[in-house]
Point group: C2
Chain length 214, copies 2
DNA sequence: TAACTTTGAATGAATACTCATTCATTTTTA
DNA sequence: TAAAAATGAATGAGTATTCATTCAAAGTTA
């Protein structure tokens, strides 16, 4: 009893290191997938990138597949919390929050070519991997819910007609994903400012009283 | 001389079969990548899928990498000629042609989950493979040129102001790519009709005299 | 507190396996 | 018959995973 309580309270150096290692390996995986691609990333790459020994991935994650899965989950969660943070520090109105989310999507934190490469690497494998499919779908739905609710509020506030919040939300998130693809593939032809401009162009045409193109 | 002339004129059974085999192998690659994913597709999968012997890929394509490259090129060219065909059989105006292109993008021929899976599989690997990058970029540029020119014409025809053809074209093609991603990942949440509706929603807001939402 | 024991993290050489590629042989075409 | 295409067993390079061993931290005892 005494023992159990003690262990539960303080994580101890061991526990802490374990989490540290997992994080280290996940971040190394991201770097390696960004550099070499999904198909070419080996355990040796990852562990070398992390500055750790070869056997560690199997110790902490059981298998390469599980490591990849956890990496996808990590990216998902990171993005999700960034969204909540952006909304929290934005102005109070739905339009303010929407603006903050779009700006987040093209901010250096989210819209970094290394991370985009990893997202697309996973998306490329998703069709044939049910687990990735699940993680991504769960993520997508949560995100679309947020955007849909914001659209709903904006539509009510502006008295816009002929626009469904679901249509608008799906369109906006598709647009952002498509712009990310351009940013990844032909960054010379699509600077971030253009991507932002296009997104706000889309918003301003649908919600002219809430957004401007510039 | 006679012989040479003959060979140059008619491809001959040999030449024909060679092309036939190459096509068979490429189509088998598409099926395999769609089913198993890029990373998991092996030579054995491809040749078995094609009903041919293991060594044939190396005979006809030199290496697996080259096969993949040719497969990407095949998809690119197929899409490009479908675009030209759609435009040719559309009405004469720029808006007609634009409508035809968007409809093509969501027609069964182009917007088939197997093919979408392969596109995204390649895009996922593109960052780390310069050759793919090149093929894709060349493709993208040609496509954006077509769309940009159509936008230009529509803008002039409608006297629209405050809209740049390049912005509009980039936006539209990003939107289509993003919708394809949704169609691939969560087809239950994004039926083709919705995707079409969203695309025309975007067009109708920018070019209200040329397109309607419904 | 100090000495001892147990636990489990970390290592990387060895293992076991997968898979692209080669090539000797057979079959088909001209 | 000569040349090309096709076959698939054999090869060997590359890689995920295992595991005996080392070592640091946590727990126990006196």
């Amino acid at each position: 009893m005494q023992k159990r309580a003690k262990i539960a309270k303080t994580p101890g150096k061991r526990e802490k290191n374990k989490e540290l290692r997992r994080g280290q390996l996940i971040r190394a995986t991201i770097r390696s997938v960004a550099r070499r691609g999904f198909a070419e990333t080996t355990m040796a790459d990852v562990t070398k990138e992390a500055g750790l020994s070869l056997g560690l991935v199997n110790l902490h994650f059981k298998s390469k597949d599980k490591l990849m899965e956890e990496t996808l989950r990590y990216l998902s969660e990171e993005y999700e919390s960034a969204c909540y943070a952006a909304m929290a520090s934005a102005g109070p109105s739905a339009a303010d929050k929407m603006r903050a989310l779009v700006e987040l999507d093209f901010s250096p934190k989210v819209c970094d070519r290394r991370k985009l490469a990893v997202w697309f690497a996973f998306w490329g494998e998703t069709k044939s991997r049910p687990t990735y499919q699940q993680i991504c779908a769960r993520n997508d739905r949560r995100y679309e819910k947020i955007i849909t609710d914001l659209c709903q509020e904006i539509i009510e506030d502006g008295g816009y007609t002929g626009i469904s919040p679901v249509t608008m939300a799906s369109g906006l998130s598709a647009l952002v994903n498509g712009l990310w693809l351009d940013l990844l593939m032909t960054p010379e032809d699509m600077p971030v400012e253009n991507a932002l401009q296009i997104s706000f162009f889309f918003l301003s045409h649908a919600f002219p009283n809430h957004f401007t193109s510039a």
